[in-house]
Symmetry: C2
Subunit: 234 residues, 2 copies
Amino acid sequence: MKHIDVCLTPDLLHLHTIENTIVVVTDVFRATSCMVTAFAHGVKSIIPVATIDECQQWQERGYLAAAERNAKRVEGFELDNSPFTYMTDRIRGANVAMTTTNGTLAITKSRGGVKVLVGAFLNLEAIANYLKTEPYDVLVLCAGWKGRVNMEDTLFAGALIDRLKTSYALAEDSAIIAHRLYCDGKDNLINYMANASHIQRLQRLGIQKDITYCLQHDLYDVVPVLRGNALVAM
Amino acid sequence: MKHIDVCLTPDLLHLHTIENTIVVVTDVFRATSCMVTAFAHGVKSIIPVATIDECQQWQERGYLAAAERNAKRVEGFELDNSPFTYMTDRIRGANVAMTTTNGTLAITKSRGGVKVLVGAFLNLEAIANYLKTEPYDVLVLCAGWKGRVNMEDTLFAGALIDRLKTSYALAEDSAIIAHRLYCDGKDNLINYMANASHIQRLQRLGIQKDITYCLQHDLYDVVPVLRGNALVAM
């Protein structure tokens, strides 16, 4: 039987071997929700980069560029880290470079995996269906917040496990914890994580509608995958 | 208001500052459950050491010595990592040196805290009552398993939060996750963690009775604290 495991933050990735594993990176608020939304709206590719400097270099080469730090848009870049930014016509066919506080770094760190996929509640079922067709074990890598574990990414890991539980064994306690947590909270995720740190951070910035949007399940049938240095739709 | 935070594994301790914080180290299966049991049965001091060599050196100086690796007693040492080992007369007044796979290392790593306490379900209420009298923030450090997050230590963190929730604010999502998990599972902890990895490891070794014992709440009114290099009863 295939196994599914969860790495609760990139700071624990050293405990996992990913060579023969498909890595699903998630950063629910909001990097991977943005990426999924962007592909659903016709973006051609997204290059995840670690630094603002790199992002600027791609911008100078004609890419649309998105830079976020501490949940805010960095000045000088067209796009920010709100999924609503990616619902416009100028996205269609565009190549995007993106750097975020947590999500893009998590993708960069996952390069050793058989495949690196980008997951969010928005494309949960698409990811689950794709994984079922593959023979590999799965590691869900939660982007967390500056190395710390967070609620929303852990809940996504639990949600994916819930969709895959009949065809995968749970590898370790992190997976069991994530699954238990999701089952406990799934009937009302927004209430369940009302006191989570990043929810409060986003609410202080007045972006409640992003929260509600990012927690919707199965909105898009799209599976972003890393090919070389860029994400593309599978 | 004071804060309580949870570090889910020693591999994430670099994310926390502990200078002005009381650290409660827990390794439910079974190091800290053993320590609490030992103090409840009259042990004088326990020196937690990182290596088997160090443990042997203390043994040569006349200490009772306990060494465990991978849930089994290391040959040549009197005591192992079962709490039932510590319910005998020879424990009374003894000085013990102890090394275990996860728990003793977590204690060693916590030395920068204002105080380092040893917690288990067995002395949950005693720890909670003591903390309430102190002005400091609290960090629960889960010993985990070789760097990985585990179920039982996370549940202990949640249980302690449950006892302290009216007088402490939850600092971060790890604390919220631990508390949610405990509330979800507390009515039947053994069933709740039936598929947890260390439960299965212990069951393979035939030590079900240790599991049942270590999950009992509030059996002993004892608070082990690190003084210099040794744990003593407060």
